[in-house]
Symmetry: D3
Subunit: 332 residues, 6 copies
């Protein structure tokens, strides 16, 4: 009960912030993790328009909502990725520009710097997001990888993100990479290599989202313990494996929500994630930041689900103990 | 015991055919599935040099070995793939040429046609291999896939392979796609889509290799039953999952043989594949072609392993029954 | 939340309808699935007495209850079964008559036709029930079955039920076979054969009850998908396996509720059925009929249990989505 | 290695004894468990023809084979069963007679007495077989069983078999019921009730066959321990569950060997039975009788399989210890 | 809902009874199981001070709480244990005395007799506790145990506890041993031996606590059935295994609450105990005493947890049935 | 096949070395790990009698056996243990002396130093054994441990063993603690603490025996990787869990070999240990020392078992690879 529960607005970008904030407040959320797309938080306006940030804050306050973090996933993705037409659909036109890959990557990097600056203006010290990856597409080593190229992928990440992190440092803002397939880090091994690649700089940490671990058969609670000093933010999102010998864990090039997929995202508490184990691990490492519900379930009505998820977190995230039990059995 | 057991020579291309054939014959194999690389089976020489095929046959016969199939995986991979530097390492120089992607793909397609022709000359009616894929790298849909592009990937496959299959038809040779990650088909769903894309043409079937199914949590025996009329050739290869909450099923961008991988290839009978179930399924569908050992295990000495694998197959592949049991209990 | 939740009255036939309806209404049910025994719905009276149907409707309305389906399990059972003394206990005296098997079967068939007629009078278009089976007792093939006799069992079913279905057709009422051990269909294979035997006539569908699937190790959600166009009604009932090496899955000829049984019925949500998976499958196939709680648990007080079950269904049956999530991440 | 390994001849009745004995001797079996059908052991001739038994013994001796037990399953089945056309196919014509159920049951009972007498003549003190059951077909209690009728089924068994056991007693021969679905006893509960029904008479024991336990999820080793003083003979036979959510554990009214069945018989060591655990339990209870291979596997060639099974038993049935290990660590 | 739910006060001994009773009453507990340490129930005062018992009763009544049992674990532990410095910390000074082991054990035995007398004064007929064990430390037989010494341990228990039980008999009070590692009985085998050692005297029964069974892989519900006539009291406490190949089930000599332990205590409903199975077993054996929550979870705030546990028990402990279901389907 | 396979003689001390060596040589072992009890290797004679060592070597050589290690478990146990009557049974009389605990521990320590000296004389650089533990009996923390006392247990170990290790250093011999319940180290956590307690001195390593890990649910292969630089010797011994809800993992104070135990030792390959995983891990860390079979199985004849175990190791311990497979697919 100790930790605030927020709603990540990325999957609600079809609704204006005004409308979503009103709902979230009414449902009982403690805050919003504002996505930097739709009209939820517009980085360019925040820097260009002196009144913008105040108007956002006013909407939040009116609905008794805090903001502990921004979500800048879409632009971040373009910083390291080989660029293709899919990026056009997720980038602001001015970042996409003429679509020349090098240019897109550079403009995306600049926009990430601006995001740190805008976050600081809003008084928010945490920005979550993706990094993209120059090597993700070489996931399965056939044709056989030249592993020097894989090494080079981590270096490319470090080169592209170091200047961005410099700005985060300067602004007093931290970045939280959502460890996730398609990113430079998506599991234990690659997270360790990623952090090493930037010399474990303090401003670059992790937005821990267990839904991306469960289908890889990874233990999120163990991850929290092993990377304890870099857990800067936590998403509450769930996924479910449905392996019956006919469905592949790799997804079959099917869209989320297709029956024949081997795994899919589901509303928190309806999937494979052991949230109690995760919350106990967060207690152990002293994480007291927000639990931010990233709600996605292609089989459930969204508003019913968001409230169900909030109730789930409220009853599952208990306060840690400060008592040693057998002590009560001993004479003082 | 009914089916011949052959050795796929792809992982032994560092040895001259003469030397490998002598070993395989001595170990007791019934034949070789000749790889179209190294000096094992050279497609260009087979077409250009009238004596070549006879010399290959002579080496086989001297060692009491048959040849039921060729393996043309490396060139096939380049037919549909986006081409990068990794392909250079696996293609003959004349196929790679200047490395321009369109040219590479066209020359690879031509070489596949030649492979059918060369197989016919050798008196072999089965060529196994890969197809490549224009869409494999979009495996995880982020940035979100435009699924029309995915659909287009299957069409691209059909356009590039139909003319190749025409030549196979003309030569009386069948192609067996090794269903495998990085190919157009790698599981139940994508195999169905692939076969549909080419209207289930009879000359295009499957080289069934269970090692690529086990780590996806797929049931190879069930696959054999569902695609019974397209199982043209079978590889005996194994893989093993080692999931402990820290190792990802996705492979962590680590090379095969690395300790921290979530799965790896192992010698047949040492992994997760249920070969008895597979062989029973093959009995049920009437498959009487070769069981071709593709031996790969980064933790085992190769020659010890090949013999161990042969013994494993000999004792596991029993003859099917032709008796109904309760019949013996009934008066005639 | 979209689907109405009803109570099947079969296990409450010791209570008069008046009393049961009052309770069910008070507990919050949306309706009753009236059993055609006890005084809940009397087929003969419904046809003979013009006021009967109106009086039943009045009781329901007074308690704010709908009726979407009748349950005619007991008489249906006698249509195909070899008749023995156990049928006497479950049949109306006029159907049992002198107990001569042929006569019993014929009178039961006639009563099923009347049930369709009575349902139509009541304005209900769904009748659920059993079919019986001429071959169930040959479940385990020893002495070895003559499988021509098994084939004949499906034909017998078709011959006996076709005239009944004709009346259903004429009355605009559908029959829903509760797939269940002791019936002509009790699993995937036998359901397929059963539907084939009557040429998939549209008036003959399925009342899907997962409690009969779980102890057979069958996946009810998968069943719903495979027989999507014949899922006409759904029971919410649960069962639990308790296999410890000493308890047989076959039941040991022990009555339900005995400690030493290998499985037993339990209140919904207390057993092995994965209701969330089932409800998601129902969403996928577009089923919007009632979820009818058939409550049976020999270890739980009945009225406490019925309310517990209702609450369970209300919180588990969520509304499906009409949104694609990654769409919110894309620019329009 | 201590226990003799025999072959039960029931599934080989299409071969003359001469031919089968020659094979079994050559394969290395220690003996045959002769089936009382085909020409393997003919009870009527053994009693009527003074030379018959000697001729059988001569065939065995010539092939270095012992006989520790007879198998009289088919006639035994008819003693308690409701008789139908399936029994005609498994009974000798003179036992079937006119097929009137009461007469069949009586003649079958008489033939079982004769079997004891014939066994004594052959010098064999163990007859294995089935009992049939008046109540098996009421396995699933719907229509609801009158459990007094179930009780009566055990009494019927006792009434019909007590006079038979009297003859066994008189002849110094023991009967071993093969605990098995369709018999009066098929699991722990029903075996206990069966033995109680005949006051645990010493001449009535068990022929333990694990293949009938595995698909019921029963632990055969535990059964051996609990019924230790009635384990008179042991069959080595195996079965395998293949439950994937679509296949029922109940068998779907499909014949053995059908792909869609949820379980099937397989050659020993190829299924779910834990034979090492069973053999350790047999060591613990001091069983030193034969291990009799009842070979049945619809997917394996019979003669290959019999030899595979024999080799399996030889390597799995090790000699028990007579040493306490830590004793070697202690000073005397 | 039939059984009262109490709170065992042992882990709350740092709070005065007044304060704890006020909280427990407010939270909705039905009673307290008073620990005989702290100021919750002081045996010496209860016998010496005529007003003491009344004052305790008054505190309970004021808060609408009953008392069905006392908890005398700490002193009981010293009756059979080899005494070391750890006992000093848990014993009253007058029982510890000079710490000479024989004297400590004798004084502890006398105090247990007094506890029975004090319970009788309070009107409570159940005292729960530990026995200690002379042989627990020989758990793993290395150096190899002389098993005559183990036998002697059970005799020692009988000799030391028989006089205590005499007093319990005289006072009309029952003792409930909490079966638990470190006690003379901690599983099925040792409980049987323990009860046998004292000739199954009726005054010596069991306080069943499932949290001590789960980490041993024991089935508490089965235990309740096997020792049905000695289940005198039930604790509701839970534990959770966390075995990942690196954590030992033996505890690693780490304190409870340490991350690296292989198992730990957790709040009821958060662990491995199947409470529904346990409560169903308690229904079956007719146990209608209290369910006493012994709350211990080093990762959860104590007061939040106690209320969570109470709610868990209220919703899980349903009333048993008094109806046979199929009866409703039969004509009377 | 690369590693020699030896037999640990500890469980055969009832046989004279001459007789055992003859058997082991005939069975095909590569060597013996000589136990320092019985007449197998007598430390006092080795130091006192100049001809003794030569005579032992002669026996080994005559039987074509090597000796890579001694086993000094029994005396080592007494170095740290609280001494009781069980130690008398396993110690030489001159070490036991008057049985005063302090004296026993000191004499045991001196004897361990002598063992190092004797090993050096024999030309053997590895001595395996136990350490005992001052704190093992506090395994389950009730009465609650004072964890400062636990800390003190590791210090006590370090104080007692450091002078012994000094002698090992001086003699060029290594000690291998068999990590094992009842020793100072028995799992991952305690092994780490143990090695830390003596500052990871190089002469103190591990004799890895997987049979002590399996019943604790520990992964021996993982242990080998984590403590790679201290794996000095490996035992091949197996154990099997038999948990059915009635058998405790803690052993029930029953002797090995009792039916009701929850786990027991079994012949290698017959239990829960994954030897292939272990041997692959040993390959990975470069261990090339002996695999020493410590044979113990209370249900199997010892001589049959030793040969079965040797065959098991020979077929399971394959040579590691020195080839990278995909390399064969690439052009050089």
């Amino acid at each position: 009960m100790a930790r605030p529960v927020t709603l990540f607005t990325g999957q609600w970008a079809d609704l204006p912030l005004e409308e979503l904030a009103e709902k979230a407040g009414r449902w009982g959320f403690d805050g919003l993790e504002l996505a930097c797309w739709g009209d939820h938080f517009e980085v360019d306006k925040a820097l260009a328009d002196d009144g913008y940030v105040g108007r956002v804050q006013e909407v939040l306050e009116r609905n008794h909502l805090n903001c502990f973090a921004l979500g800048a996933h879409l632009v971040g993705q373009a910083v390291c990725d080989p660029i293709d037409s899919r990026h056009r659909a997720i980038l602001p036109p001015e970042v996409w520009g003429d679509g020349d890959p090098d240019g897109v990557r550079e403009r995306a990097a600049e926009r990430m710097k601006d995001t740190a600056r805008a976050a600081a203006r809003l008084g928010v010290s945490q920005v979550n997001g993706f990094t993209g990856s120059a090597i993700w597409h070489m996931l399965y080593s056939f044709p056989p990888n030249d592993f020097a190229v894989i090494d080079r992928g981590y270096e490319d990440f470090a080169e592209r993100w170091s200047p961005i992190i410099d700005v985060f440092d300067a602004e007093g803002v931290q970045f939280g990479l959502e460890v996730h397939p398609t990113e430079i880090a998506y599991d234990f091994v690659t997270t360790r290599r990623t952090l090493d690649a930037i010399d474990n700089r303090e401003s670059f940490g992790i937005n821990l989202d267990p839904s991306h671990f469960a289908h890889q058969s990874l233990d999120t609670a163990q991850f929290a313990l092993e990377f304890a000093d870099r857990i800067y933010h936590v998403h509450v999102k769930d996924s479910r494996k449905r392996l019956d010998g006919r469905r592949s864990i790799l997804g079959s090039h099917l869209n989320f929500g297709e029956e024949a997929r081997g795994w899919d995202f589901v509303s928190p508490g309806h999937g494979d994630v052991d949230f109690e184990a995760l919350f106990r691990a967060l207690n152990r490492i002293g994480y007291d930041g927000p639990l931010s519900i990233e709600w996605e379930d292609s089989g459930m009505e969204r508003e019913w689900g968001a409230q169900d998820a909030l109730a789930f977190v409220r009853r599952t995230d208990f306060t840690p103990s400060d008592v040693a039990f057998d002590a009560a059995m001993q004479r003082s």
